[in-house]
Amino acid sequence: MKQAGKRLFELVLFLFILSFISFVFMKAAPGDPVRYMLNIDDVSITDEQVEELRNELGFNEPLYVQYWNWLIRFFQFDLGESYMTKQPVLQELINKVPSTLALTFSSMAVMMLIAAPIGTLAALYKNKWIDHLSRIFALIGASVPSFWLGLLFMQLFSVKLGILPAMGKGTFLHLLLPSLTLGIAMAAVYVRLLRSSLLESLGQDFIKSARARGLSQKRIFFFHAFRHSLTPVITIFGVSLGSLLGGTVIIEVLFAYPGVGKLVVEAIVRRDYPVIQGYILFMGLFVVMINLLVDLSYRYLNPEIRLRGGDKG
């Protein structure tokens, strides 16, 4: 428990540093949001107007004052307003989070539905044709750009066959193409990982002793080997939940799916600082949580770590 507390403190410190770095960075970055904001209306702008808005937004204050003000508002759950939509950033992000989460989890489901059976079969029939097939799938899956795969799917299912909507959000059908795209791209890694992990656990002593105890092959495979091989899979899983989330950014833009990723990409192109900063903090928080969850799931899945951890603390 003590260790967990220390880790939590470190992570909070990490978020704090992150917020400061992102703040300073953004202030130093090129591109003037004030001019951009005034430019939206497409009328000619005077220097006075620019100056006025600059004062209004507090851009003329010293940097540390700006950061301090921002920090105070942050603890009041106020991340500022988007320059573009004039909506509170927190509200905008929270509105978009469910769609992104839906996409993330459905992609994960697709990924599992593909990776688990293929990986298991490849381990069971090592060096048979299904194993070779899984190798080819993994190799191609790791090489294909996900957005291109998405474009091809769109072309096939929406344009040629006309059975699935290509863009937007709303029904379950809208979710199908994006999550299929992302899920397939991600599954490639897991197929091989699950296979090698299963093969490794099948060679362990506890499997041999289970055999000696006369347990059935099926039971050994699914209850012992499968569970044991989940530990490395979960590790990579935690890491790649992040890349899954990174992948959703690309996929959201591709399918015009209104999630957090699309929001931030639009904000980046328009230099909408408050939204970018809100996104960074959201992601920081997310990364911290994932790290904690992965740590916890180790304990649950691997009795060795669980027992050792229990002795110590």
């Binding site: 474009l151 769109m154 344009v159 960074i280």
Partner: protein
């Protein structure tokens, strides 16, 4: 089939051919990749234009060739900078150890905590869209892997007797690093770099596709796909070719990386992401 591909030299051959093709690309391109010709737009595949023309009448084949230099060249640049930054930091950190090592590794851990795509998106978000900012962003994401790998290699080698003997004989730290450490480190690093090359190419293309990397009219494969998307119905061939180009080059790098890994028999150590 893949096994045979890996064990024979065909991968190396294929890789070499591709690299040569990329280097001589501007000399074999039949047209100027940025030459706009509105009378000739969205033309299908023909003898004059092998791969047709795009929405501004530019020759797609020439743009693919020029795009190879942007996409692959950029990813090599990213790799080179990441190596030059990560390897020395890892070497020094591992060799000197102590407090310096602890601080540096804390920094590395903080970088590693962020998933690479998210970190790259955040950094290019802070810096603004553009190919140079994207290069910077990906370097920031990638150098840590090399620092880790270099450090862990040094830590293993440092324990061995021949280093002790070298020290006893009064060989200086610089010489030990140069003569004994670097050769070991470079072998491991090369494998990781080849496996990374494909990932970096994918990253550059993906981020350019969503508008954070190369800006039009720069010929870049991801950006080309972005432009092609608007002509989805009229000219599907426009989006087929750049994607295929990305896939083939990444596939070659991945095969080559697998081959190198088997050759050196290095397992994807700490550096791998």
């Amino acid at each position: 089939m893949i096994n045979r591909l890996r064990t024979t030299n065909s991968v190396i051959l294929l890789m070499g051919l591709f690299l040569i093709a990329i280097i001589i690309a501007p000399f074999i391109a039949p047209f100027d990749p940025n030459q706009v010709n509105m009378a000739n737009r969205l033309k299908p595949v023909s003898l004059e234009h092998f791969l047709g023309t795009d929405h501004l009448g530019r020759d797609v084949f020439s743009r693919i060739l020029a795009g190879a230099q942007t996409t692959v060249g950029t990813s090599f640049l990213v790799l080179a900078i990441s190596l030059l930054l990560g390897v020395p930091i890892g070497l020094v950190s591992g060799y000197i150890g102590g407090r310096l090592d602890r601080i540096l590794m804390r920094v590395v851990d903080a970088f590693m905590a962020f998933p690479d795509y998210i970190a790259a998106i955040i950094l290019s978000g802070l810096l603004g869209p553009g190919i140079f900012n994207l290069i910077f962003a990906i370097v920031m994401v990638k150098w840590v892997g090399y620092a880790r790998l270099a450090r862990s290699t040094v830590l293993t080698e440092k324990q061995k007797d021949y280093i002790l003997i070298a020290k006893v004989n009064g060989v200086g730290s610089m010489n030990i690093l140069r003569r004994h450490m670097i050769p070991h480190v470079l072998g491991n690093v090369m494998v990781l770099a080849t496996l990374d090359a494909g990932k970096i190419i994918l990253m550059i293309a993906s981020l350019s596709y969503i508008g954070l990397g190369a800006q039009p009219p720069t010929p870049e494969w991801g950006a080309m796909l972005n432009e092609a998307k608007a002509f989805f119905y009229n000219a599907p061939h426009l989006m087929l070719i750049p994607g295929l180009a990305i896939m083939v080059i990444v596939l070659i790098f991945n095969l080559f990386g697998d081959y190198l890994r088997d050759y050196y028999d290095v397992k994807n150590q700490n550096g791998g992401r």
